[in-house]
Symmetry: C2
Subunit: 335 residues, 2 copies
DNA sequence: TTAGGCAATGATAGCGCTACCATTTTACCA
DNA sequence: TGGTAAAATGGTAGCGCTATCATTGCCTAA
């Protein structure tokens, strides 16, 4: 038995025109059934919907976007999504965007300025209706690309003095100040800072140093760790600050790694409730931090709320362009 | 002084044609400079690149995709990205896709079949060149949509008997078997299982029960927890299995939550090295698990490797369609 | 009756690019 | 020197949709 030629109506991905033909209406009517069903008569709508189902028609949004100049997509750029607090932010913004029919185009920069620019260009070439990114662009070129795109741009996790368009976050410098003062008021003498060397970590570091000086403490020591390293970096950092009595870790993973190393080295008090020999404060308020022993003191940041707020600013240019979501020092057992 | 009309060449987003005009070449030549610079003479290329830079031209990939029927994008569907092992998988696949010029369109299903179908339809309407998802589709409709799309589809984190196209993962049933046998060989008597009720968790549960029966143990108890709940669920689960002497937690976060609750309840041995009163094994091998005290025994899964392999199968239909990346039982202090 | 209004549908003309085939120019060799 | 191939460039058509402006019929009001 010979195979007949494949029925083109079934083999190829069906188009809106194919649906129109089958339903006996014009293409534009099919388009209306998909996008504005309320303006089509019930009878026609039914016929079209049957045809759509029979053909398994899936609208081609690429064509639709070109014709309407609306892509219903938002570009999202984060340094990294794995093992990170930024995952919460992506979750939060997705939760706002998806119900409104927007898709998220995700890109990662790995804290690399060149890669960031490449990713920004790649995102913009897809004509998203807005860009949400962690931090401000790392290069002037990147900033210029964003300005030229003439779409809402939301920078998050920091509050630049002159954002391209909008910003949602908190004052990283202040976070450093608050932790240093906390350590000082607890009578700590020799402070240290463990974190990456990206801009946000550096802002925290500056606040930390300045506040330490202001209260008359000697300058803290700074340990720079690779962003790819997780909690292990906290562990390794211990060797670099042998005589510190208080450490601000730029995220909770580092804090936990550090505390774990301290425990193994026998440098944590055994009795709960006692002041630990070395105070450690993290940032991010990971759930793990509450379960760890000692429970981890931290600067609490609501990453999901940052994401949700960013999505709202991205979709509505009338919203305030600068939202400070703040942070909170949560003192637990670790100091 | 009167404002002149805005120069249209500068105000609107420049098109390829505008670049061509400025460089004195045909539009197609500009297109070549962008996509295949090697086939354009050095001189012409220079002129065109200058024009591109001067105008700040960013190619419109929406139009390009429509014309070429290639979107250079991949749809990625995960249950959730926050606080989860799937973030590693997304990272892994991005690491393979981005250098090849592919964008990731990310969607989350929240383990909800209807939402999954909606997200699948939304993804497919953007005509991605492949779909990578965690697990097999939850509904027959979803599976049918994917089949009709005639693009590579990679299911991950499980190995369905009949994948739509390809699958990368491990045998979840087997993982349950291995943990149950491990508990049995350690002399445990009353087993329990803590996890979600999604398909992968249920497969682990089935393997766990079957292996327990096979070695003559009484049927394990199953505690179902909400997927949104993090480690806290592990803590809460303790109350539900008061008499168990071994617990398989479907992920490391639950395991850590459980261990934390056990410690607070004073039900963990004080002396390190001793066999704990209750054995706990997690899944995922979170870095935290190695830092926790006791260190957490776990079924080690390489989420990033799953992502990388999935991306490779998605881009190359010639690659084997079924990749078992396996898992490894790592026995640490927790049992 | 007749104008006016609205609901429902359609025809036409692109959106900004690339596939596909010319066409022109240059290079090279017998 | 002509002939052929390869390199460089261009013209035309169309991807699958939607914006915009008709057009058609029918209902209502004075």
């Amino acid at each position: 038995m010979e195979e007949g030629p494949p029925d083109p109506e079934r083999a190829a991905t069906p188009t809106l025109t194919a649906v129109a033909r089958m339903a006996g209406v014009s293409p534009i009517t099919v388009s209306r059934v998909v996008r504005r069903p309320d303006i089509v008569s019930a009878e026609t709508r039914q016929r079209v919907e049957d045809a759509i189902r029979k053909l398994g028609y899936v609208p081609n949004m690429v064509a639709g976007s070109l014709a309407s100049a609306r892509t219903k997509s938002v570009g999202v750029l984060v340094p990294t999504i794995a093992n990170s607090i930024f995952a919460d932010t992506v979750q939060g913004l997705s939760d706002v965007l998806e119900p409104q029919g927007y898709s998220v185009i995700l890109a990662q920069s790995g804290y690399d300025p060149l890669r960031e620019d490449r990713m920004l260009a790649a995102l913009l070439s897809r004509r998203p209706e807005a860009i949400i990114m962690v931090g401000a662009p790392l290069t002037a070129d990147g900033a210029e690309m964003l300005r030229r795109a003439r779409i809402p741009v939301v920078e998050t996790w920091e509050l630049p003095a002159a954002p391209i368009d909008a910003a949602v976050g908190f004052d990283n410098h202040d976070a450093g100040v608050v932790v240093a003062r906390h350590f000082a008021s607890a009578g700590r003498q020799r402070l240290a800072f463990v974190g990456g060397d990206d801009r946000r970590a550096t802002q925290r570091w500056h606040g930390f140093v300045e506040a330490a000086r202001q209260v008359g403490l000697e300058d803290p020591r700074r340990v720079v760790v690779e962003w790819q390293s997780g909690a292990g970096a906290g562990t390794a950092a211990l060797a670099e600050v042998p005589d510190a009595d208080a450490v601000f870790a730029a995220n909770d993973a580092y804090a936990i790694g550090l505390l774990s190393a301290l425990r193994r080295a026998g440098r944590l008090q055994a009795e709960p409730g006692a002041t630990p020999a070395i105070g450690v404060v993290g940032l991010g308020d990971l759930e793990m931090g509450r379960l760890f022993s000692p429970t981890v003191s931290t600067i609490r940041i609501d990453g999901a709320a940052i994401g949700r707020a960013a999505a709202e600013l991205a979709l509505d240019p009338a919203k305030p362009r600068r939202v400070d979501l703040g942070f909170e020092l949560i003192v637990r057992e670790s100091g």
